[in-house]
Symmetry: C2
Subunit: 331 residues, 2 copies
């Protein structure tokens, strides 16, 4: 069997079975690994790779944005557990004919992002590559053990929320893929695709509330990542598609380009906002407190139920079929 | 300017200048980064990438050896600082037509190596790649802060030592590159190239002795790595080439193949043995104690002097010129 027919999750499951966790460590299967420290805090560790031709095209993304994004996607994994990033380790593989200025711009973007989130780059590996560029970052963060949020803690009845508009990044990617004319709106979506902005303060605030049960980031699209959350929690979920937050920019561009904004919101991916579940009785007060704190809404989009592993969709409370194709890294 | 004309060290220097270290952390420039813990120990962190077409060829190395080697080269960086490895994070990028069994064998090799050195694989990233395979491991180890060895601590007069034969791995690579007939001896060199064996116990033992001043591993060849050590220590070095340990296997194969065993020992690379400097008055007793403990020799090959940045070679105490070309990842 080839990788394209196997997919990422079965491969991760295979690896996970080969390396059972022990010593109270949380390993493979969440956004970050968790290594407890004796003082009640814990290290959070994550690693993410960006590969030319799969995650980016060299003639579309600027070198600086590539560096910035490499850091941002990893920060998102730390934020998703309720932690703050601290130390980074970079591996970069470059073909011999890469222009040095281009490589320096990647480093500039990494430096900008590290500065923004107060991260120290402490090491790495610089190697040659035959053809394609690979950039990998390992990011270490920390959090109080008691505040860390996991994806396997969703409870039946929980309100499912996201803290940002979905599909903008997917719309930006689609604009690049289809060669859409770069109006100001289209450019805005492309900018969001190239410069994801993880919500560090919001993640830490949400993690400090025990009424938030499960949390993760949306990197592969709501449909894919919510499926992972309910699988991990051994629960089910219902999403009301009319409640999914879609930006006015994406709505407008989708109309103009005859795209399905809903499809982009569900499977476009790379949103890097937070997906969380909240105890129903606490939802309203938490939503209000969040709004007061950040002047931004927390969007309720559905609820958790006991239908183990089932992700259902409704429109105005009537069941609908959604079968958009999730992105497969190996295809 | 292109990367092939710039090289790895100037690029690392560029990155290092962009990210000055702070908070008593040791960052870019040694085998591992060092993050002190409050209990007197420290985390050691390193990351190393293997790229298809640069570090390995898919039709030469087995998938299992590739997995094993990915772990071993990182273990060597932790060992070089006197630490023991603990936690690993794997990023692997695979083309969509990669056979699943092949990928599983990579994981098998990683599992074998992790088992051997008691490492827990705690996370990673599995992604697609357009053409080439890319494997990156980040390894976290630990050591007592007081025992950690750095490459910048060499003192004038120190005896320079290595703890293993040099050039075997380079000979194995050369055999593969030249298509040498695989006699038992040639196969032995190839096996060493594919399965490096970092010296965990010896590294920890050496690190526990304060008479050992500077230590690092030899990954890019003695010439290149000793140049780094003296640059970092702001010292010079003289190496007596007749004292460089060369295995009887490499001597024999080099004779048969008309290779220069000395060239392979100096610039072949991937030896993954330890390069260290020892206070001269302590050398003999330390050498004897090492021999008693491990039943293996510690080879003295030269001494440190004050000729800042100068690496000189002698043969029977007469100066000789050595200008073998160091391997450049970007060429």
């Amino acid at each position: 069997m080839h990788f394209k027919d196997w997919g990422e999750d079965p491969f991760i499951e295979y690896i996970s079975k080969q390396f059972p966790s022990r010593d109270n460590l949380i390993g493979i299967g969440d956004d970050s690994a968790v290594i407890p420290k004796e003082d009640g805090s814990a290290w959070l560790i994550t690693t993410d790779a960006l590969v030319e031709g799969v995650h980016f095209l060299r003639d579309q993304i600027t070198a600086k944005d590539l560096g910035y994004k490499t850091v941002a996607v990893n920060v998102s994994d730390i934020v998703a557990m309720g932690g703050a990033p601290q130390y980074a380790f970079l591996s970069i593989a470059l073909p011999k004919m890469t222009d040095c200025t281009w490589a320096q711009c990647v480093i500039d973007g990494i430096r900008e992002a590290c500065g923004k989130w107060n991260i120290l780059l402490l090491g790495g590996d610089t190697v040659g590559s035959k053809r394609d560029i690979f950039v990998n970052l390992t990011l270490i963060g920390s959090a109080l053990q008691s505040k860390i949020k996991y994806r396997n803690q969703a409870q039946s009845g929980d309100v499912i929320c996201v803290n940002g508009y979905l599909g903008d990044s997917g719309g930006g990617l689609k604009a690049l893929q289809t060669g859409a004319i770069k109006t100001a709106d289209v450019q805005r979506l492309i900018d969001i695709h190239f410069r994801p902005e993880p919500f560090l303060d919001q993640g830490m605030w949400l993690a400090s509330h025990h009424e938030v049960h499960a949390m993760m980031d949306i990197s592969d699209g709501l449909d894919c990542d919510l499926s992972r959350l309910i699988k991990s929690s051994q629960k089910g979920a219902v999403i009301e598609v009319n409640q999914i937050p879609i930006s006015s920019t994406l709505s407008k561009v989708s109309m103009e380009q005859s795209w399905s904004a809903l499809e982009l919101a569900l499977v476009g991916g790379e949103d890097y906002c937070l997906l969380l579940t909240i105890a129903p009785q606490a939802f309203e007060s938490l939503q209000n407190a969040f709004q007061s704190q950040f002047h931004l809404p927390l969007f309720p989009i559905g609820y958790i139920n006991d239908c183990k592993g089932e992700l259902a969709y409704t429109r105005n409370d009537e069941a609908i079929q959604v079968d958009y194709k999730n992105y497969n890294h190996f295809q």
